[in-house]
Point group: C2
Chain length 656, copies 2
Amino acid sequence: MTERKEFRDLAEPDAARDAIASLDLSPEPESVPLSEARGRVLAERVDAGIDVPGFDRASMDGYAVRARDTFGADEADPVALDLVGAVHAGEPPEVTVDPGTCAEVSTGAVMPDGADAVVMVERTDERPTEGGEPDRIAFRTSVAPGDHVMAAGADIAAGARALGPGTRLTPREIGLLSALGVDEVPVRGRPTVGIVSTGDELVRPGDDLDPSRGEIYDVNSTTIAAGVTEAGGEPVLYPHAGDDYAEMERLLREAADECDLVLSSGSTSASAVDVIYRVIEERGDLLLHGVAVKPGKPMLIGRLDRADGGESAYVGLPGYPVSALTIFRTFVAPAIREAAGLPEPRTATVEGRMAVRERYAEGRLRLMPVGLLDLGDDAAADGAAADGPAGDSTAPIVYPVDKGSGATTSLVEADGVVAVDPDTEYLEAGEPVTVRLFSPDVRPPTLLGVGEDDPAVNRLLDRIESPRYLPVGSREGYRRLRDGVPDVAVTAGPTDRDVDDVVLGGWNREWGLVVPAGNPEDVEGLADLLDRDLRFVNRPTGTGLRRSLDDALAELADERSAARGDLTERIDGYGLTLRAFESPVRRVLDGDADAGLGLRETAERLGCGFVPLGDQRVAVRAAADRVGREAVASLATELDDDGIADLIAGLAGYSA
Amino acid sequence: MTERKEFRDLAEPDAARDAIASLDLSPEPESVPLSEARGRVLAERVDAGIDVPGFDRASMDGYAVRARDTFGADEADPVALDLVGAVHAGEPPEVTVDPGTCAEVSTGAVMPDGADAVVMVERTDERPTEGGEPDRIAFRTSVAPGDHVMAAGADIAAGARALGPGTRLTPREIGLLSALGVDEVPVRGRPTVGIVSTGDELVRPGDDLDPSRGEIYDVNSTTIAAGVTEAGGEPVLYPHAGDDYAEMERLLREAADECDLVLSSGSTSASAVDVIYRVIEERGDLLLHGVAVKPGKPMLIGRLDRADGGESAYVGLPGYPVSALTIFRTFVAPAIREAAGLPEPRTATVEGRMAVRERYAEGRLRLMPVGLLDLGDDAAADGAAADGPAGDSTAPIVYPVDKGSGATTSLVEADGVVAVDPDTEYLEAGEPVTVRLFSPDVRPPTLLGVGEDDPAVNRLLDRIESPRYLPVGSREGYRRLRDGVPDVAVTAGPTDRDVDDVVLGGWNREWGLVVPAGNPEDVEGLADLLDRDLRFVNRPTGTGLRRSLDDALAELADERSAARGDLTERIDGYGLTLRAFESPVRRVLDGDADAGLGLRETAERLGCGFVPLGDQRVAVRAAADRVGREAVASLATELDDDGIADLIAGLAGYSA
């Protein structure tokens, strides 16, 4: 067995931050066309190269005059001047305004020579004359020199400081640059970030997957690439190195030559880490190995020499997706933003309050994945945490998400992480915490549901805005509802607990044994599972389907005067439980089982046979203290009679 | 003169919102590669198509065992099993774990047949044997079935709901889609927004400008295009229509055929509006014309028929840049975001408090451009507004910016707009207001300075983070400092007022008359301006340069026993004042003047001659109640002896 690297002398997280800060990721400034400059950061100050406007400009439709000629004019006693011509925007003036004359001007026109003010058209009258004499214009008001004229350079003059270095270019800055005629903008470069993924088991999304070889899709490369873009960097994905060490070394060196920063992640093999070590030791510096943070202990920070004599920064991320994203977001993204000249987005953190008490005493910094629920103003009146130290009962509630860091679904069930200090023993319910969101674009869900997997529930979720639903089964869902975090729980079948809830609506669904199409084994009921040699697939304890199955088995045991345990022992596969409601059906479909616990709906949709065993009630239950929330109310609207009819339309075995 | 459209029956702003809401901008959904999906919005629910993981997966490095074989094992009494092989990640297992045996597995490996749990390597010892017998592994712990194994589908199972419609795709969702092997993602389309700009005077940035024809760079097209991108739309810039009406009509129709929404703006010509009217009337619907909002009165909302029988939405924006961006941001951007499925960014509005009392009574909704200054926690202790109704003295302060809507510099001097109801007469100092930022990426400056234009000030500003500086001249700057809005004022020359300020630092600069290179007219001093026929260019009253000039003229008047006014009357161009400090020098450079008021620094930098008239002191003054602010302190640091030396290094005529 290969010697495995141990991480005994862990660095403090601050040392990791310092090490990353000591790396130079800053690319050279570059020049981009104005049309691509939005979101970029000015590399240097931009001074105005021209006067804006470039000429004395009429700022009203009206008549250009010598102001002095209008002195004394008013409604009662207008002054009339000879009209000598007109100047329109975009035309050179071909008239001169001598004393006693005026010229028509439109907004934006160049002021003709001699004129020093504009009288707006609304304060004038035309007085046509005949016989070849010029028309005359009567002015019912006087103006001062400069009135309704924008002098050349009055907006911004040549030589003036227009925008400072470090300015983020939003539409308005684009506007000012346009006014100055700037079409190429000097901006900070985007750090180029190479992503090298290793591991023979990794397959790029879109390619064919062979699970029998243990292949899985590569999650980290795409996740981190998206994170790099979001932080203002330019990701470069390198082809898979697999576990071919020579190839891995070649790719690392290539990435170092081409990028400001190289990230690797995803290798579950200790030998891959050895290769990275060796490359860094031979051609670079290892600054730090192993950080006292959970997750992310095996983080590597170093520098890689380049063929051209320069160097590239290197950070090795943990392999599990949530860990990789957490470490990226906490340590790496800030360095990329810094190099790109971008500030941390204001939306990157959220102040929340703990929904539950969370115990912690692990002796190192914990970056705890958490979910958020934004109760908004709805819940200001109640909720356990309202009187907590946060004082701000409108802050979102925060609950830990711990599915094990190997789960990719944690990525979307958690919204971010809370940093818990090594010496913190407890986070109290109601305690204010700062959540670093996985992305500044993450928005906490407006509704949190938990409970049974059900196709009609899936449809229901599609109809409301940004819900989160955790299919933890009926029993666990109902328990969580009691503990106060979710808004609603969906239960199937009977419930035992005593929870202060309000049933918003529900439906019935037919459950039973799913068998291959045509029911080749002629399965007729539960007894066949006991008495014949059939391979069965079950659902886990705590699901409504399993509960109904066990109730039916208990009945059968009574009939046979046997203990239920004796019966279940005789079912081949009773202990083989699959987490999702379609999974047993898919096993049957794949020929790996003769019968699976499931719904008529699933059986018919996937083209299997079905042996009905009963109907069970699915109920959508809201926590009593959340019924008043807007999101819960809008859910309830979808559960009126018409709503239910619509939700279950076309679902086989469903009834209201 | 063309008949001008009047806007007498103005619609209420809500009616404008309703009209825009009634337009259909929604494009068809589309499919994008996963690598381009970040930031997009799911068009439909995505269910898992595969089990993740696709196999029972070892989640630790260690040994796969039958759990039952380890029962009873502990540190004192280990259990030893025969090692029958190894399975690594990405390899199909080629061993079976029979009772009494085990197999080495690495994290991510497929569990070999027979095994149902993994013992982590740290709890085992290798016991090599000799003579061809298999090695034995001692287990110092027992495990339960399923320990350190992630069952197939345990992360997410085929058929389960993975992501709902309307989900914004951030890195974590990209991660989950990767895990599911999805490489083409069904997303909401981006509305295509055509931008048609009209007006003979408009020139695209980068092209040559002829100011003598009244040409100006087109600001609105690029600004609005950037705003469209930011709101989640796809801008299409159409070539300039000029004021050629046939061409304008052709472009409008082409844009309608190709886009979900057509925007026009920038035409200052009433006739252009007539063409748009005619096109809409002949081939479309005019929904609304003229809205009771300042700015934006002449807004047009309608529909344009397409050649293919469909229709495109149309909105006509006002011509002035700030007005166009304000109306775009208030009425149009929300509709684009809605069509794109994107929520209003949380950073798009900021709660602030008025820094000053602002009078308003205009009978229609006013979208007042305002600047923001984020005093942060620094100023919690004082400030006039701290006891105002906002109660929140850490909210940024808000001050009106009113340079006339024709000024493009307002774009960057204002941060957003405050909507003031028609029936509001006053906004009180300290009153809480909601500021709609021009962009969610706008960050209020951390420091606000006002006062004299000066090249060393420009350098100083480059050294601090996101300052804003308004070059309003010494007198106006000092007045504003007294009134309490800015942090610092820069004055040049003497000041008259009594302001509670602290001088952070300063320097001297040499001023005088800038003349053509080589001083061809042999100008020796002020007297030449009076006594000879020279064309002069001045700076405005209120600037430090002008103040020093006027003081010198007063002295000269004393010498000659004349009134100062008599002297100034004799200077050709005394009344010709240019706003920026370089402008008089540029006039001299262009041969349009024989002498200009200016600095030795500017004269030498631009290659002119210089006739010195004196030195003046430039002082950077902080409001006494802002001295404690972090941003002011960091400015002060740049103004220590070393800092000043550095700031004025190489600036001709500057001294500390």
